[in-house]
Symmetry: C2
Amino acid sequence: MTKSSRAAAAAPAPRSLDEVLDLIRDRGGRVTASRRLLLEVLFASPGHHSVEELAKLVQAVEPEVHLSTIYRNVEELERLGVLEHSHLGHGPATYHLTTGAHTHFVCEECGTSIEAPDALFEHLAAQALERYDFAINPHHFAIVGRCASCR
Amino acid sequence: MTKSSRAAAAAPAPRSLDEVLDLIRDRGGRVTASRRLLLEVLFASPGHHSVEELAKLVQAVEPEVHLSTIYRNVEELERLGVLEHSHLGHGPATYHLTTGAHTHFVCEECGTSIEAPDALFEHLAAQALERYDFAINPHHFAIVGRCASCR
DNA sequence: GTGCTTGCAAACGTTTTGCAGACTC
DNA sequence: GAGTCTGCAAAACGTTTGCAAGCAC
C-alpha cells in the first residue's frame, strides 16, 4: 500500500506535544488546560482509547473536564492529523496517535487487537485498485476474525 | 465487551423463503405475519439494508409492524444464518441475505459500496494466518477507501 | 393451553449540539 | 476586546429491554 492518503492534510508524521500545541496555535486555536492535558495523556499512553477512557485519564488529573470537551478536542485533533479513530468492533470508536499507519486485526471472540503494518496489504491494495478501481485505506475499520487462542 | 455468541454454525447456503420458514419452525419458532413479511421483503430486494429501511419496506405493506420487531427478527434470522450484518461506515449496520460471502469496499467520500469476492482476500488471509496466527473474516466490517470517481 | 412473539414505552450507550460564561491570545 | 473554548443540560442516534396482551402451534 502506498502513502496513507487520508482525507485532508498530507498527514504529517507524528510529533511531540509541543509541536502539536504549535499546530493548534497556527490555525488560530487556543491552548487551553484541558487540551494540553488531553495531549499529555495521549502522549503518555499511546494505545487505543475510547473517548470515555480518555476522559477518565484526563479527569484523574482534572475532574472538571467534561466528556463533551474530550469529544470536541478529539475531533479537532483528528482534523489536525494528530489523532485517528478506528472502529475495532461494536461499541465505541477508539482513538490513537497517528504514529505509523497500521491496520487492526480484532478477534471477534475475545476482542484482542493485533496491529499489522501496511506492507501486509500491498497485494490486496494493488488488486483492489486494478480490478475495482478502489484505493483502500484499511486503517479506519478493523479486519475481524479469530485469534490463535480463540480457535 | 459484548459476547458475540453468533457465528459457530457452519453457515448453510442461501435458501428460499419457504426453506427459511421451515427452518424457523424446526427450531420451535412461530411463523408470524411480520416475520413472513420481513422475509418477503428481504428476498424481494436482496441488497444491503439498515433496520430502519427494512422497517419502512415492511410497513409499506403492514404499518402496524414495530421497529423493535424488525430488530428482533433480524437478530433471529442472523442466528439462523439467513442474514448477516456488516458495518459499512458510520451509521447503522446493514443486513443482507447470506448469499455467497463477500467483502465490502466502501468509499469514505460518497459512501458507495462495492462487493468483492473472497478470492481477493486469499493472499491477505494466508499472510495473516502465517505471520500473526490470525484467521480473518472480513465480511463483518468494510474496507474503507476512495472509489474511482472520488479520487 | 403453552409459550413464542408482538406492540409499546422506556431505557440504553455513544455521540452531538445549543447556550451562556470563561478563557486565550 | 474578539473570538475560541468550556461546562452543562438536553437531545439525537441506533439499539435493546421489560412488560402485558396476542397469536401460532
